[in-house]
């Protein structure tokens, strides 16, 4: 297996863009990545698109060549990967594997979702298709209600409090306020976060990530060729994808995500690092409880201690383990198919010291965790300066 590097990154801002369609967002991110990597479209040897529900949100299928040809990438393999909210994390895993295996050298991975052309109720229905449609979803659940049930049980088993969840939202909003590409650049107080409009008890509107439009892109190359293209290559030190049941009621314990633990274990092993070595992370905070559980499953804290650890400020930019300096899905936004690659772009910005006002001092080893559904897919990537 060859060492692999990210040689270029590109992102659109995240937000609600009524005048933009799926393809124009994907093309903007892709063109920025090409420019960033000093790569021409005809140098791309394989193209991956992470996208969850373009056919439902935008009425368009066969999306990978639909996007790649618009980028001027012609004739090469062009593949769409769907894995719910982990679609582009998974696309990145497959693009990485292709370079690591020596099948191709220069590979582009784009993630995109265009969501805001649909009503919130319809968006909830489309997202619900990533759950068990014949069971949990047929009973009237949404992803918010599934994570609400996870939060309830986590509170029952470990004493996690509503304040702990709210602290995650406050911290991510504070970070997103400093991110010019974030969907919601608005700091909130703990009091506001505690009193939001109820969505599914115990979660309120401030516990939930945003419905956004956006795209993100990276270009991969063998590490040995990275300096042909960039002075600031980012090395993919470890990566793994793992899976689990789609239906929540099939899991033995819903307060933990086995797919996160499995993916993390293999990624740490590949990178030759331990959880304690990770300096900062981009975590899949689709709901506040998901960030709390992820920092437990990734081994940053013991099981059940994620709530107090967050509440005490340890995951703030000034804390011992900054989490979601981008603002996370909560504040940066969550165009679901774009999220996995966007997390990697945000790690890269910190590692390259290009994160502006939100730059943190310890930024040489970062981890991204991208979750699909209520934990049926997880991709964990560990990046560092090459």
């Amino acid at each position: 297996m060859r060492p692999v590097a990210i040689i270029g990154i590109g992102k659109t801002p995240f937000g609600a863009f009524p005048n933009r369609d799926l393809r124009s967002l994907a093309v903007e991110a892709g063109e920025k990545a090409l420019h960033n990597a000093n790569v021409r479209p005809d140098q791309i040897e394989s193209f991956y698109l992470g996208n969850f529900a373009g056919p439902s949100f935008a009425g368009q299928n066969h999306l990978a060549p639909y996007v790649s040809t618009a980028l001027g990438i012609e004739g090469v393999p062009s593949t769409r990967i769907e894995a719910a909210c982990a679609s582009s994390g998974s696309a990145f895993f497959h693009g990485w594997a292709e370079v690591a295996a020596g099948i191709n050298d220069i590979v582009m991975v784009v993630g995109v979702e265009k969501m805001t052309s649909q009503s919130t109720a319809r968006v909830s229905e489309i997202l619900a298709e990533a759950g068990d449609c014949a069971g949990e979803m047929k009973a009237g659940n949404t992803f918010a209600s599934l994570f609400a049930m996870i939060a309830r049980r986590h509170m029952y088993d470990y004493g996690t409090k509503k304040e702990h969840l709210a602290a995650v939202a406050v911290k991510n909003h504070a970070n997103g306020a400093l991110n010019p590409d974030a969907h919601m650049r608005k700091p909130i107080t703990l009091e506001q976060a505690m009193k939001g409009k109820p969505i599914a008890d115990p979660l309120n509107i401030y516990d939930c990530s945003l419905i956004s439009d956006g795209a993100a892109a990276v270009i991969l190359a063998p590490l040995e060729r990275a300096h042909e293209f960039t002075q600031k290559p980012i090395r993919v030190l470890g990566i793994s994808q793992a899976s689990d049941y789609v239906a929540l009621d099939q899991k033995e314990d819903i307060t933990t995500f086995p797919a996160v633990r499995r993916a993390a274990q293999k990624a740490y092993q590949m990178a030759g690092v331990a959880a304690q070595d990770i300096e900062f992370a981009e975590i899949h905070d689709c709901f506040t409880i998901a960030e709390i559980i992820a920092i437990e499953d990734l081994g940053f804290v013991k099981k059940g201690e994620g709530g107090p650890f967050s509440f005490e400020g340890n995951t703030a930019r000034t804390g011992k383990l900054p989490v979601n300096t981008s603002g996370g899905l909560k504040s940066k936004g969550h165009p679901v198919g774009a999220t996995g690659v966007a997390q990697l772009c945000d790690l890269a910005l910190q590692i390259r010291c290009e994160a502006g006002e939100r730059q943190i001092p310890r930024h040489s080893l970062g981890l991204a965790q991208n979750l699909g559904g209520s934990g049926a897919t997880c991709v964990v990537s560990i990046l560092g300066a090459a």
Binding site: S119, T120, A121, R122, S124, E125, A128, A134, G135, E136, K138, A139, G140, N141, T142, A144, S145, A148, M149, I150, R152, R153, Y156, K197, P198, I199, A200, D201, P202, L203, A247, L248, D249, Q250, I254
Partner: protein, 67 residues
């Protein structure tokens, strides 16, 4: 009819389009006495973790339970 214990629950205020008229309503995951778990709708009084519940009916393949 099946019986079991509430493993977890939530009350849904923001419902998908097809269920909007029924909100707020409660769903739960029930650990069944016969083994295994099932996702259900709760009828009648609100339930909390640990409550004993029994199945009352099934609409269109969705089991309904109550205290």
């Amino acid at each position: 009819m099946r019986a079991g214990t509430v493993y977890t629950e939530t009350v849904i205020y923001s419902a998908p389009e097809a269920f909007a008229a029924e909100a707020p309503y409660q769903t739960a995951i029930v650990s069944l006495e016969e083994g295994g778990r099932v996702t259900v709708r709760i009828e009648g009084d609100r339930v909390t973790i640990g409550d004993k519940v029994t199945e009352t009916e099934s609409h269109d393949g969705v089991p309904f339970f109550r205290k």
